[in-house]
Symmetry: C2
Subunit: 445 residues, 2 copies
């Protein structure tokens, strides 16, 4: 058996959306597209655990528009779904996306702490800002600018971190004889006073098993990277070119030292769509079948959403037009446009690309080819692991777990058994001490 990369292990998540990640994935005969289908979700979680995955990852948004990626509608609210799955899994990390743009830190901090308790230390929060401007109308508010959303997010995460340290780890002694339910002096209410949030109070549940839930950050923009370098345990990023991925990896890891963190304190996990066949021809046929089921109007909408600009007026068979720099032109949008320029794609081809993997790495091939690409990215500094985005569920996920995972294990790149009990332990991340824990004894209140 090859030992691979000196014992360094890939981190692995599965990004679950029942309709699949390819926009036409749900139309494949083997796809089970039902978003609010608990049986399917339990099956996928069991498959992920059988495959020794670190994370079961759920996106989120507040969108209903028909014409957009169908998987964005008709699905469970992430925190409630993961709470239900905590009862049918034992090792799998449970990662929910929750936006900081239209929420209260107290509610978010409490829900993730509760999920961490329910799962015995397996909760993760994917911190995002809400990018769709029209979502402001759901909350009767003006949608904040990109810069302001990140400023809000920074305060939001810091407020949650204070709230998670509301109680010392040993606060709830419940001593029946003495009549002491909580040890005096162990409550440290948050006292956060920022530009966007004023919070004075503590959470009403014990400090969670992981101390603080694992923090995932998905933004790849400048402010996104800065926030991640300070606060993230895991970064989920869209990369479709090894050179770009290496550059992103170097840039983000290079910002850790200034926050007193080492490169091993943050795992970078790009999204990754493998379209798997038993032969190369079968994989290509599958991809062609999905492409043939694509509704071009819908694909154009997906691309327009990604770019933050309506692309429906342009010639599909002409070159991808130059777009003005704008606040809405996010880092992922720029990656898509760079890909188009690099490869000389027409607008139609870029629509197909966006509809397939939405700017994420795409490999169409056999299990061995998929494993080769993953190994190359992992060994050559493009990734610490991957967030798997099957084109549809469940069979393409089964194919990965049954065919690709054994190859990665054989090469010594991926675990055969879970190392610990909490998600932090499996990810090799330290349990954060409370900010109120004194090095010697208990801190004074």
């Amino acid at each position: 058996m090859k030992t691979g990369n000196a014992g360094r292990q890939m981190r692995m998540g599965v990004f679950v959306q029942a309709a699949g990640h390819h926009v036409a994935g749900w139309r494949h005969p083997d796809a089970m597209p039902g978003g609010a289908n608990l049986g399917l979700m339990q099956h996928l979680a069991a498959t992920a655990e059988r495959g020794k995955f670190d994370l079961f990852f759920l996106a989120d948004n507040f969108t209903t528009g028909y014409g957009e990626h169908p998987s964005t509608i008709g699905r469970f609210e992430p925190l409630t779904l993961l709470s239900a799955l905590s009862a049918t899994t034992r090792h799998l990390g449970l990662a929910a996306t929750a936006s900081t743009t239209y929420a209260e830190p107290y509610h978010i901090a409490r829900a993730f702490s509760s999920l961490d308790h329910l799962s015995d230390g397996r909760a993760a929060w994917n911190v995002v800002t809400t990018s769709y401007a029209k979502n402001g109308a759901i909350f009767g508010r003006q949608h904040p600018s990109h810069a302001e959303r990140y400023a809000i997010a920074e305060e939001f995460v810091e407020a949650c971190r204070q709230l998670w340290d509301s109680w010392d780890d040993d606060a709830f002694v419940m001593d029946k004889e003495a009549g002491t339910f909580v040890r005096p002096g162990t409550l440290h209410p948050a006292a956060f006073h920022g530009k966007y949030f004023d919070i004075a109070g503590g959470l009403n549940l014990p400090r969670c098993p992981q101390g603080q839930p694992v923090i995932i950050q998905a933004g790849s923009s400048g402010p996104g990277q800065a926030l991640a370098a300070r606060t993230a345990d895991v970064v989920f990023t869209a990369q479709n070119h090894l050179g770009d991925a290496q550059e992103f990896h170097r840039s983000l890891k290079g910002q850790l030292a200034q926050h007193g963190r080492g490169p091993e304190d943050l795992h970078i996990m790009p999204g990754f769509m493998p379209v798997i066949g038993r032969t190369v021809a079968e994989a290509k046929e599958l991809f062609a079948e999905l492409s043939s089921k694509l509704d071009m109007r819908q694909a154009n909408t997906v691309l327009s959403d990604r770019l933050g600009t309506d692309m429906s007026g342009y010639d599909l068979d002409g070159p991808v037009p130059e777009l003005p720099e704008s606040d809405q032109l996010k880092s992922r949008a720029l990656l898509l446009l760079e890909t188009a320029r690099r490869e000389g794609l027409t607008l139609r081809e870029l629509c197909h690309r966006a509809a397939a993997s939405r700017g994420h790495m795409l490999v169409v091939g056999t299990a061995g080819q998929v494993a080769d690409t993953m190994e190359q990215w992992f060994v050559e500094g493009g990734a610490d692991g991957f967030n798997l985005m099957p084109p549809f569920f469940p069979t393409q996920f089964d194919a990965f777990v049954d065919q690709v995972v054994p190859i990665l294990q054989e090469r010594g790149l991926f675990r055969r058994e879970y190392e610990g009990t909490t998600l932090r332990e499996n990810l090799g991340l330290a349990r954060p001490a409370s900010r109120h824990a004194a090095p010697m004894g208990r801190a004074a209140e």
Copy 2:
């Protein structure tokens, strides 16, 4: 077998808080006080289902103060806990309290719809306003007055009802051949424009199995009754005197007709604490044991919280003082004060009463005596059912299920098997049609 009350069946909930409902309940040797103990919660849910209960009911608040009822701290967030319990139960209704005072209708509507999907139609929402003024500081806001909180709650519930009707029941067809994920014309975004909320948008998940989750209302004040008469399926109320309970029952049921509702469309379920022994002496001994473990300072704090007035300065062995009328003097506080006047209680005795059942009906006796009282209240127009509040968990809840439930079943007052699959079916409540469903065919958008 006696047929009881012409086939009319009691509704039954269990109000679960792990530390028990008696303030000193957690100190009993048999008590399992751990609030964030999932194994205990799963055991209690299984016990409730074994006892054919309608509802597993969770309170909520944002309080951390030591000295208050210990059960108010150190517990799971309700919606995440019930989501986890949806996976280990099949028939039990899952009722979470969620406040309308510091939340967004969209988030609450979505979470309850998701819980209803996860549980195949067993979700219930106990609609409350946040009464503790100091909780405003957690959200950086001025705490609204009692009247304003109810005005907010009215808008909040109506906005949620619109959101729950975002999609027609048959919207998500997911027709792979035609490429139709949702049927066109089936989306009806909420358009709510009130004094407190402006909401334009729809939920991103299908209409839930129950159409709308069951609505529980806990307020017994004038505005609370008015809100309940319009919107509630179940009312949870604090009553400790049959005459008062009958008066409340008549008053609330009398308000239903003006909203086009019948008396059977709303179930009134008072809280009910049975302290159960195999003999009368054993029950009294148990109650005395709990009383002896009471911390008077804590009991005084519970009473002060109930009354909205600091009672620590008064003579414990003097009469209960007259309190000025105030916004904070809620309906439950008035019931406590009336009880004190009626029975000539000292302040110490009222503290004990408040600490035992917090203004709810209290019966100390054998299973037969408990069943007798329940039957009387049920048959004589004081209650449609009960929300059980055991003094501590799990053994006092076991005693009820093992000893009292069989008596009620034998008397024909309580089901031996669940009647339906959804909570509405078990409660005998109709599934609400969508406001957008036309009597003949589909309404135009």
